[in-house]
Every structure is written in structure tokens, then in C-alpha cells.
Amino acid sequence: MIPFDFEYYKPASCKEAVSLFLELHDRGKQPLYYSGGTEIITMARLNQVYTEAVVDIKGIPECNVLEQQGEQLVFGGAITLAQIEESGMFPLLAKACHHIADHTSRCKITLGGNICGNIMYREAVLPALLTDSEVVIAGEDGLRQVSIHEVFDQQLQVKKGEFLVQLITEKRFADQPFFCEKKTKLDKIDYPLLTLAALKVDDQIRVALSGVCAFPFRQAAIERYLNHRESPAAERVDNALRQLPAPVLDDLLGSSGYRRFVLRNTLFDALEALEGAET
């Protein structure tokens, strides 16, 4: 049971949602945008999050888009991870979503919720980083469409009242070879030791990681070393491992040493899968 009360609103447009959120904020209600809601319910039950009002974005048509528009794939923020898997529109994103929680939970967890949540893994952002996707953000001044790289730094950097409406990916990336693996310590359903997503574009391998550091990332230096084909695979991988942007996580799920060990092996797996590299 959630031990405190809050108000529930379900606006029908982005404009209505933003103005409602800001009004609730001004009234001191500490509002939260609500999509799948699994993280809010879980944390509220444990008093780890508090709000006096939630604004549910599932009634906004733009947030429920899941379709190909010309040469672009459009994913609404309120689309569930299970819907993305079932759609088959973007196999790499489907695989990344497939690794999050369990199937029934994925029928509730949404794309926007996973990318914008407090839980640090945010695996659904990895394909977006690899494909230089764009995101549509709703805010006080209406909708703006920007590169994911402009607004995602460790987490989605948005102003008060802004929320993720859509993720837009060029369709050509859906046909590229990819590798996506989640490694856990024991159970299949658990938070990850790491998730590695890789995509081969124009003969170059792109890599994005979650669970290695305290935030998901794509690092140019890692890709530069991994794509240095003149060097042996072990040297490429070891050089890449020296380019991590922050300390490797060291927690109950896995020590930093174990995570590095698993990451090294998974990078070899990615190279083998995408270019048949000798390891």
C-alpha cells in the first residue's frame, strides 16, 4: 500500500500536461510525470519517493505513437517495452527492452519511464545513443526535437515541467548488424552486472554500456580503440577498457573487478559477433 495520498491527473495533450505540471509545482505539490508507474509505485510504497500529484501522460496521443513515418521509426514515451518487442520495428531496441525486468512487468514499463526513471540502468537509451536518435521534448514553449546527445548526459537533462514525448530513429539503423547482451550474476531476472549494446554502421562498431558505471553511456574513445583493426583483439579491448568515463560500479550485484572481467569478455563476444575477430 502506498502510505500517502496524491492527486491523479490524466491530461489529453502535451500542452495541458506541461501547464498542469507547472501549476502543481507552483502549488508545492511536488508533481511527478507518470507513465508505466512501476518505479513510482515501488518507491512510494517504501517511502523512497514522495509526491502530492501525478500527471499521467498515457492519455496524450503523441506519447502513444508506435509507427514508421517515412524513413523514421517513432516510439512514443508511453509505449510499453512489451509493445516495442512485439512490434518488431527495431530489433536492437527490442532486444535491449527484452532484457529489462520480466515480461509481465514489460507490459507496464514504458519507454519514457525507463529512460527518465531514477533507476540508473536506463537500458532503453542504449540503442538511441548508438543510432544518434532524436527525442521530442514537451515543455513550456511547446515541442522541441533534439539529438539524444544534446539532452542525455548520464540521465535525460530536462527543465522543470518538461517530459519525453517521443524517440525518433532513422529506419536504416534497424537493418544494421547488432549485438546486445545483458549479464547478471545469478538470476536471469535481476538488475544487470552490465548491458552491452553494439551496432555496426559503415563497417565501424559503436558501443553503449549500462551497469558498468553509475549511468549509461556511449564513449567515443572506446569505439576508437575497438575499431583499431590493425591491433590484435586483446589490445583493442584492453585499450578500450581504459577509456571508461567513471569508476566501475562496486556493489552487491558485483565487485568492480568482476564487472571489469565480465565486460572484457563481453567486448570480445561483441567483436566476434560483429566482425568475427580472433580472440
Partner: protein, 154 residues
């Protein structure tokens, strides 16, 4: 909607009026207001699947859904399943021991056989990983569901 409000919820094919806090989960609304106790509280953290119901035909952990979110959706609980082949298969294959997780497994298995009657083994395992059986009856549960899929295929 502020603190407490009434609305009509569509459960097992009929409209039922409920009075809920916005913070009430669907699980406790079903159990305490509508007397539908087939959805079981287990972990209440979205992990165990004992509270699984169907929302518009898809499995959903009712502890992870606010009752107010059910407005306009079609909810099916274990009480709403009559003569589902999965229920019969659980009996035939001994797909339960203590029975506490059974309704959640049946709801999930029923949805799987309806949505993916041609489900592959990996897909069955993928869906069943959503539920936990502390009596560890997994093999029998899987066999029960696969028997329904096999009949559908034939």
C-alpha cells in the same frame, strides 16, 4: 482526480463501481472492494507475479497498477476465466502445490496461449519468468502450458 473518487471499473465483463484513493493499487481495489481475492498479494513489489490479472488481454501485475489507471480498460481476473484450457491443464499436469502462485501463473499462461498460440519454448520461458513459485513447481507448470499450446497447434 483528488484524494478519493468513484468510477466504474470493467472487470470480468461487467461494470463495477469503486471508491478509491488515487494511490490505491488495482490489487487491493479488486480484493477489498470487489471481493475478487483470486489475485494474491505476494511481494507487492512487481517481482512474484502472484497478483497477475489481464488488462485488455495482456498480463499485468495488479500491485504495480493504480486502480485509477483501470478506468476505460477491460480487466480479467482468475474469477473471470471459465473453462480456460490452461486451468484444466494445470489440473492434469499437477501444475500447483500450495496453490498461492497458481492464479497468477494461470492468468499469465492463459494470456500467452491466447496471444501467441504458436509460442516457442524460449517464448514460453520468457513469459513464465514473470512468476515465482516457492514450491518450485516450474517444470509441471511449463508442461501444463505447453500441452495447451500443443493442442492449439494440432
Amino acid at each position: 482526480m483528488s484524494e478519493k473518487a468513484s468510477f466504474r471499473i470493467h472487470v470480468n465483463g461487467e461494470g463495477r463501481d469503486v471508491l478509491v484513493r488515487s494511490a490505491d493499487t488495482l490489487l487491493y481495489t479488486l480484493r477489498d472492494q470487489l471481493g475478487l481475492t483470486g489475485a494474491k498479494p505476494g511481494c507487492e513489489n512487481g517481482d512474484c507475479g502472484a497478483c497477475t490479472v489481464l488488462v485488455d488481454g495482456w498480463p499485468t501485475k495488479s500491485c504495480m497498477m493504480l486502480a485509477v489507471e483501470a478506468d476505460g480498460r477491460s480487466i480479467t481476473t482468475i474469477e473471470g476465466l471459465t473453462d480456460s484450457p490452461v486451468q484444466k491443464a494445470f489440473l492434469e499436469h499437477w501444475g500447483f502445490q500450495c496453490g498461492y502462485c497458481t492464479s497468477g501463473f494461470i492468468m499469465n499462461g492463459h494470456a500467452l496461449t491466447e496471444i501467441h498460440p504458436d509460442a516457442s519454448d524460449p517464448l514460453v520461458e520468457n513469459w513464465l519468468q514473470s512468476n515465482i513459485c516457492r514450491c518450485t513447481g516450474y517444470q509441471e507448470i511449463k508442461e501444463a502450458i505447453k500441452s495447451v499450446l500443443a493442442k492449439t497447434e494440432s
